[in-house]
């Protein structure tokens, strides 16, 4: 069996991949009513979903290009800020993805429970 060279780094990469799969859903869920890039980073981090600004900003643009978000420059503050908000298509996608996520989370819970039970049976 091949042992990973750096188990901690390998685990971190796997955890990142897990987060990457959820980052779109997390963003769509938190962009309401409207958010600018930094406020969204803060909001997600405060709720335990750490995200790098370098990951979030390009993704916001991609979601806008896909029609799930729309942006508006607010020039009335001390300096211009680009705000994002959900489009109707984005809200529908969020609703559908939420169903998928909850179903997946339920399946994963069962799988992990079974794995833990199997481990404890094996230990007996």
């Amino acid at each position: 069996m091949v042992e990973p060279k750096d188990p901690i780094a390998a685990e971190e990469r796997l955890a990142q991949e897990l987060r990457r799969g959820a980052v779109v859903l997390a963003t769509l869920a938190q962009v309401r009513p409207r958010q600018y890039g930094y406020s969204l980073v803060q909001r997600l981090t405060e709720r335990g979903f750490e995200i790098e600004p370098g990951t979030l900003y390009p993704m916001l643009r991609r979601l806008e290009e896909q029609g799930l978000l729309e942006s508006l420059w607010d020039v009335e503050g001390a300096r211009p800020r680009k705000y994002y908000r959900l489009t109707d298509a984005g809200a529908e996608t969020l609703a559908r993805l939420s169903v998928h996520w909850r179903r997946l989370a339920g399946v994963m819970d069962r799988l992990l429970d079974e794995a833990e039970r199997g481990e404890s049976h094996g230990a007996d």
Partner: protein, 322 residues
């Protein structure tokens, strides 16, 4: 703020032109928000460096704005590809053109032979440049995928080493397009209507100076082709570089030479023009117009040289602040 501007410009250089302005504006705004959120501002250099390091190297940030795998040469390699390609193509075009000019200067051929040889030059030049471009694309696509460069770790990166912003480097889109379209239009016109080149004397419909026009045409074509390549480089890059500024001066100098040949030809044919019944005042006016052309191009060249020297003197190479 200056460090943020340099960072934003470094990212922008690696982005497609269509998205560049918007992403640069967005990135600047996001960086200022982040600094404000940390209780710092843009003049706090340590805070700026910390925020920029966290965001990542400009090439990594630019890469994240590209769709995965949607490019042949990635943003990290692309600026080098642009510089190398511009230098190689300009050098090749210069060499081929110089060889042609030398062969003509040594023994000036008849007008028809000259036109034939010019056709050969245009074909050979196009073939050479396209082949060189293709080879460079393949090489850089390989370099991009093989990732044979020395690894650069983000934590080793110092944002203070970012290159300085050179004011006036940006070329407006319209100017860049016109830099290509104007010589291309003249090139098509003078070559499509080659038989009608000369001075039309109405109402008799007499065509004068046709031989002079044919004599000038190959030189004019070289100048126009060089102008077109320069225009393409400007469209592709969107910014002035040292190489394109020098190439522009070269093209202007060549234009000056073409005007000088035209002026010399006109003076030599003064008797012919007067003999054809052209008023002396009109002949004087023609000569004056070519001299004015020479003066305008010469002033443009001097202005270009002065600007280049001024920029070289004012913009010192950027060094990290210790």
């Amino acid at each position: 703020m200056e460090l943020i501007d340099r960072y934003v410009a470094a990212v922008g250089r690696r982005l497609p032109r269509a998205k560049r302005d918007e992403i640069e504006r967005e990135l600047r705004s996001a960086l200022l928000d982040t600094l404000e959120g940390e209780g710092a501002d843009a003049v706090d250099e340590e805070a700026v460096v910390r925020v920029l390091r966290r965001l990542g190297r400009p090439e990594e940030v630019a890469l994240s704005y590209h769709p995965a795998g949607g490019y042949l040469i990635g943003p990290e390699t692309f600026p080098t590809f642009q510089r190398v390609t511009a230098a190689v193509l300009l050098a090749l075009a210069g060499l081929v053109t110089a060889a042609f000019a030398l062969s003509v200067a040594v023994r000036t051929p008849e007008a028809t032979e000259l036109a034939r040889r010019f056709g050969g030059l245009a074909t050979g030049l196009t073939e050479t440049l396209f082949t060189a471009f293709g080879i460079l694309v393949l090489i850089f696509a390989f370099v991009d995928r093989a990732d044979i460069r020395s690894p650069k770790r983000s934590e080793d990166w110092d944002p203070r080493t970012l290159p300085a912003i050179r004011p006036g480097d940006e070329i407006p889109r319209f100017d860049a397009v016109m830099a290509f379209v104007a010589p291309a239009a003249v090139f098509v016109l003078v070559n499509l209507f080659r038989d009608q080149l000369g001075l039309w004397i109405l109402p008799r419909g007499e065509l004068l100076l046709h031989d002079l026009a044919l004599e000038i045409l190959p030189w004019l074509n070289v100048a126009l082709l060089a102008g077109m390549f320069l225009g393409l480089a400007q469209i592709g890059s969107g910014r002035w570089h040292w190489s394109t500024r020098v190439a522009k001066l070269g093209v202007d100098l060549f234009g000056l030479y073409v005007f000088w040949r035209l002026s010399r030809g006109l003076v030599a044919r003064r008797g012919e023009l007067l003999g054809a019944g052209l008023p002396e005042r009109l002949v004087d006016l023609l000569e004056l117009a070519t001299r004015l052309g020479i003066a305008v191009v010469a002033i443009a060249i001097l202005w270009g040289v002065a600007r280049l020297l001024y920029r070289r003197a004012r913009l010192q190479p950027n060094r990290p602040v210790m």
